[in-house]
Point group: C2
Chain length 159, copies 2
DNA sequence: GATAAGGGGACCGCAACGGTCCTGTTTCGT
DNA sequence: ACGAAACAGGACCGTTGCGGTCCCCTTATC
């Protein structure tokens, strides 16, 4: 399905949330605001922090803040941070994983495809996905609607 | 990793192989020619046949043949056939799978991303991946050979 | 009628992913 | 100085989907 991991989706939600309100926010706070379970939020933030997309401050009154503004973060960065480098096949550009590269007819064959996708993903920033206008009309109580396990959604950037 | 299934990779190899030699070829023949195990080739061909990308002829002296020439088959079709419709997230355009669509702030957020990828994938045909002649002259970076034990490769369109 | 080939499944092992939890370590507030 | 708050980092499983194989049936040629 060419689908990306659910964590990536969460990461987008979390990042967008970080773009609102206080500059520095804690993971429990974000979890409460977004409706995403707290451990998962923490995990996502750790990964994002390791990738340098967010900065962390430890200790009491600590939290996370954005390093770059939302409009300077292409989703390609998020995907790369969570799902690893963008590579459709095992044999990526360098092809460091294959043995007989000189003989394999598929060598580098997927590269243009990878490039195209990478370009497409680099052209869209989080700001584009955040809220391009006043269309965001359902604050707060949206989270209350998900008493059950919230299957795949739970993507609420509640205010 | 945004990776696509191995089957898709096989499918490309098989399709390219179908573009060579005899117009109609049997799956054992293709398996022998490509080095891909026969059952897998058969599986791939069944899927491709169901998707209408190849035509099959049953009975003795049967086999498969291409419906469209290679340059008329964008890889998007292959991916769609094997991995299913191209959709990065669970909530696709229509969002038929989600319950509280009206409240979810991510509704349709990924759509532009999907479109971009779809467009990128539609712009490259199998012919582009087959063997565009001697044009594939990778510069100096021939990459150091990694003596591996053929992890995922075996993608040989042997002649 | 025998044989060669595709059609459509069922089946199982494995690896990756999602999700949770626990045990440090750091910093701020009192 | 002490304790609480919050991040860091990993360990830990259940589940899922995928890759791969096999079997039996139908179809068409010889
Ligand atoms: S998660 Fe499905 S519409 Fe939001
Ligand atoms: S499969 Fe790796 S270079 Fe061909």
């Amino acid at each position: 399905m060419l689908r990306l991991s659910k964590l990536t989706d969460y990461a987008v939600v979390v990042m967008v949330r970080l773009g609102r309100g206080e500059a520095v926010q804690t993971s429990p706070c974000i979890a409460a605001a977004t409706g995403v379970p707290e451990p998962t939020v923490a995990k996502v933030l750790k990964i994002l922090s390791a990738a340098g997309l967010v900065a962390s401050h430890r200790g009491a009154r600590g939290g996370y803040r954005l390093v770059r503004p939302l409009d300077a973060v292409p989703i390609a960065d998020i995907i790369a941070a969570i799902d690893g480098p963008i590579a459709l096949t095992a044999c990526v550009d360098g092809g460091t994983s294959c043995e007989a590269q000189g003989l394999c007819p598929m060598r580098g064959r997927w590269d243009p495809v990878n490039r195209a996708i990478e370009a497409a993903l680099a052209g869209i920033t989080l700001a584009d996905m955040a809220d391009p206008g006043p269309t965001f009309a359902a604050p707060g109580e949206a989270a209350a609607l998900g008493p059950r396990a919230l299957p795949l959604s739970a993507l609420h950037v509640a205010e």
